[in-house]
């Protein structure tokens, strides 16, 4: 595995000068993933903050071939590009030693929701590509609307906390497990706050042939309501509270990569974020927190069992 010094000497594939918000978790994760390979990379990118903010025409922050496609189609476009590559290789029209890598980026909206069908189809067809979901738990590009990745209790503009509902009323969909159920070679969950975890996982994903999936929790200072400088810490707190366990599943084998010495109560993650503020102001809010804690505990116990621990 490449060490920090080696990584720092690699040419960045996503450069600075883009217009993502200060403290956004997305470009951090993207750079970490893409610096984990020295092979040439081609990216397909679903509509979302990453796409809009890095490619305001005629400018681009990408140093590599990059293809944008509508919200629901990143995995389908990656399938097409990869199929063409395999075909050209077979026809002898591409250097047989060139080792192109295909990466699709989508947000939680483009992956958990509208793009799930295309993603499921692409991995079932066994395309050789890595899909990276940049999950910031809501539709941030359109103004913080809830998604099926939004944590229960979170205030969003379409699950507004008020007298009628205490924020989002449903639990988050477990997309990582849905991808595990596709029996693909590699599935991982990670955060941008632990560089060695995310780069090691990306490196591993690039070393495996076939469809790979990484789910990265990328804090959004604007939508979550926290200081931009806290992004790594907030994502670390998601791991410390087991709200976002860091684990990987390689050919069906579960491995938990980070087990907090002392599992923190979920409040450690919720409290610094404005989107959960209302949960600390009423008895009803306390009940929601209790329900989320129970859900997190249950998910964590289930994961431990799957990992044989």
């Amino acid at each position: 595995m490449a060490n920090l010094k080696q990584l720092s000497h690699r040419e960045p594939k996503l450069t600075g000068g883009h217009r993502l918000c200060p403290g956004c978790g997305e470009p951090i994760a993207v750079r970490q993933v893409l610096m984990s390979t020295e092979d040439p990379v081609l990216v397909t990118n679903a509509t979302g903050c990453l796409e809009v903010s890095t490619t305001i025409f005629p400018y681009s922050a990408w140093n590599i071939p990059w293809l944008h496609i509508a919200f629901e189609n990143a995995a389908a476009a990656a399938s097409g590009v990869e199929a063409m590559y395999q075909s050209l290789k077979k026809q002898g029209k591409i250097d047989p030693d060139a080792n192109y890598r295909f990466v699709a980026f989508g947000g939680d909206g483009g992956t958990y929701d509208i793009g799930l069908q295309a993603l499921s189809g692409a991995v079932e067809r066994n395309h050789d590509f890595l899909y990276v979901c940049l999950n910031n738990e809501a539709y941030m590009n359109t103004g913080v609307q809830r998604s099926s990745a939004t944590l229960k209790g979170a205030h969003t503009t379409t699950s507004p906390a008020g007298e009628v509902i205490p924020g989002k009323t449903q639990n988050r969909k477990d997309l990582t497990e849905i991808m595990v159920a596709h029996d693909i070679p590699y599935v991982a969950q990670t955060i941008p706050g632990r560089w060695n975890d995310i780069t090691r996982k990306a490196e591993k994903a690039f070393s495996i042939e076939g469809p790979k999936f990484m789910n990265v929790l990328t804090p959004c200072p604007l939508g979550w309501g926290h200081e931009g400088g806290l992004t790594p810490e907030i994502s670390q707190l998601a791991a410390d509270t087991c709200i976002w366990p860091l684990y990987e599943v390689e050919y069906g084998e579960y491995k938990i990569n980070y087990k907090p010495k002392e599992k923190k109560p979920i409040e450690a993650f919720l409290e610094p974020q404005a989107r959960f503020r209302h949960l600390f102001r009423s008895d009803e809010g306390a009940e929601v927190r209790k329900a989320v804690q129970e859900w997190v505990d249950w998910k964590w116990e289930t994961l431990l069992k799957k990992a044989g621990e």
Partner: protein, 363 residues
């Protein structure tokens, strides 16, 4: 009614949402897309307070099919989106048309094709008046030009949808969606459930036959009969609800045709042309584009020397104007696209050009 209206200063998006509520909509299914996010957000906040249902779908495909379900069950139902989202809804919309389901859609048009941009555009004119999925169905299409009209047309769309058992689209744009104006709100009230004896739901088999909502007609003659029934409704709608407004000189030399936000710009241009250039100009502003106000445009075309169409697209609405004019006078086009809008000066200049060519002005 007007005495009871409360005057507020709000955005087009909010006026649209409040118009939906005033029109009796208690079921809203949506999916975020700029520049109309404020509508689903407003509905998410307001509908639960009045016993309504707000559901955010996982895609526009799902949203329009939620509309299909709710409309089949007899609800006054609405969804809103912007161009790329409306494009995704085409299949579901075609099913709504085929199954003759009343529902309301609002399209805050933005620049396209493709991802385009989020600027104002009127380039979904074909999509609204010709598109709406495959097959012989068409959407009744209303074209407001102010925040007030967005509110009123959206509220009124539900009654029209029910009258003709057909989807109604309110066709606006990114400027109307975002701009703020004074607006007199129709008071919210609980309307009786719409009269839909055909709707599905629990029923007593002794009271009525089972209802079937369906768009599958294998027999050619049966399918043709459905198309003929739709066509008859559109003919009836053309007689009953075709609507437009006129503004400017009563003895015009030049006729301007524009709808929506373009018509707002043209109003100022018409005043300038009349007052400053001495070119007698009249604006014909369709408030419905399907059905289309063919008659007034045709009859003014008999009397004017030239016509000018102003629209935020490279030329879609102009086709309907030319079909109405049928060669009675030359029809020029001032089309801007991609989020750009013509200035009043641009329109005046085009009026001058048209008048010069027709030999009715020497300036």
């Amino acid at each position: 009614m007007s005495q009871q209206r409360r005057k507020v200063f709000i955005s087009g998006n909010e006026a649209t949402a409040e118009g939906g509520i005033a029109g009796g909509c208690r079921h809203f299914f949506g999916y975020p897309i700029t520049p109309q996010n404020k509508i689903p957000e407003y509905m998410a906040e307001e509908l639960p307070k009045i016993g309504g249902v707000y559901l955010q779908a996982e895609s526009e495909v799902a949203a329009i099919n939620m509309v299909y379900g709710a409309a089949s069950a007899g609800a006054r139902v609405m969804t809103t989106s912007s161009s790329p989202g409306i494009a995704l809804m085409q299949e579901g919309l075609s099913y709504c048309l085929g199954s003759e389901l009343p529902c309301v859609l609002v399209n805050m048009v933005r620049g396209g094709p493709g991802l385009g941009n989020i600027g104002p555009a009127q380039s979904d004119y074909w999509l609204a008046t010709r598109g709406c999925g495959h097959g012989d169905g068409r959407c009744i299409t209303l074209t407001p030009y102010s925040v007030q009209e967005l509110h009123d047309f959206t509220a009124g769309a539900f009654e029209i949808a029910d009258r003709y058992r057909n989807p109604v689209m309110v066709l606006a744009d990114a400027i109307l969606a975002s701009m703020m104006e004074p607006c007199e709100l129709i008071p919210r009230r609980d309307l009786p459930a719409p009269d839909r004896p055909w709707a599905v739901g629990p029923h007593d088999p002794d009271q009525r036959e089972r209802n079937i909502v369906n768009s599958l007609w294998v027999e050619f003659d049966v399918m043709e009969a459905v198309s003929q029934r739709l066509e008859e409704r559109y003919r009836q709608a053309a007689e009953e609800i075709t609507d437009w407004d006129e503004f400017g000189s009563d003895e015009p030399q030049v006729m301007i045709c524009a709808y929506g936000i373009s018509a707002r710009i043209c109003e100022s241009a018409v005043m300038q042309a009349n007052d400053e250039l001495g070119i007698r100009t009249r604006l014909i502003r369709p408030k419905t584009v399907f059905p289309f106000p063919t008659e007034p445009i045709r009859s003014w075309a008999e009397r004017v020397d030239a016509a000018l169409v102003v629209e935020l697209s490279m030329g879609q609405f102009v086709e309907d104007v030319r079909l109405a004019v049928e060669g009675r006078c030359p029809v020029d086009l001032l089309g801007r696209a991609g989020g750009n809008v013509p200035t009043v000066g641009d329109v005046v200049e085009k009026i001058r050009e048209a008048a010069l060519r027709a030999g009715v002005a020497r300036v």
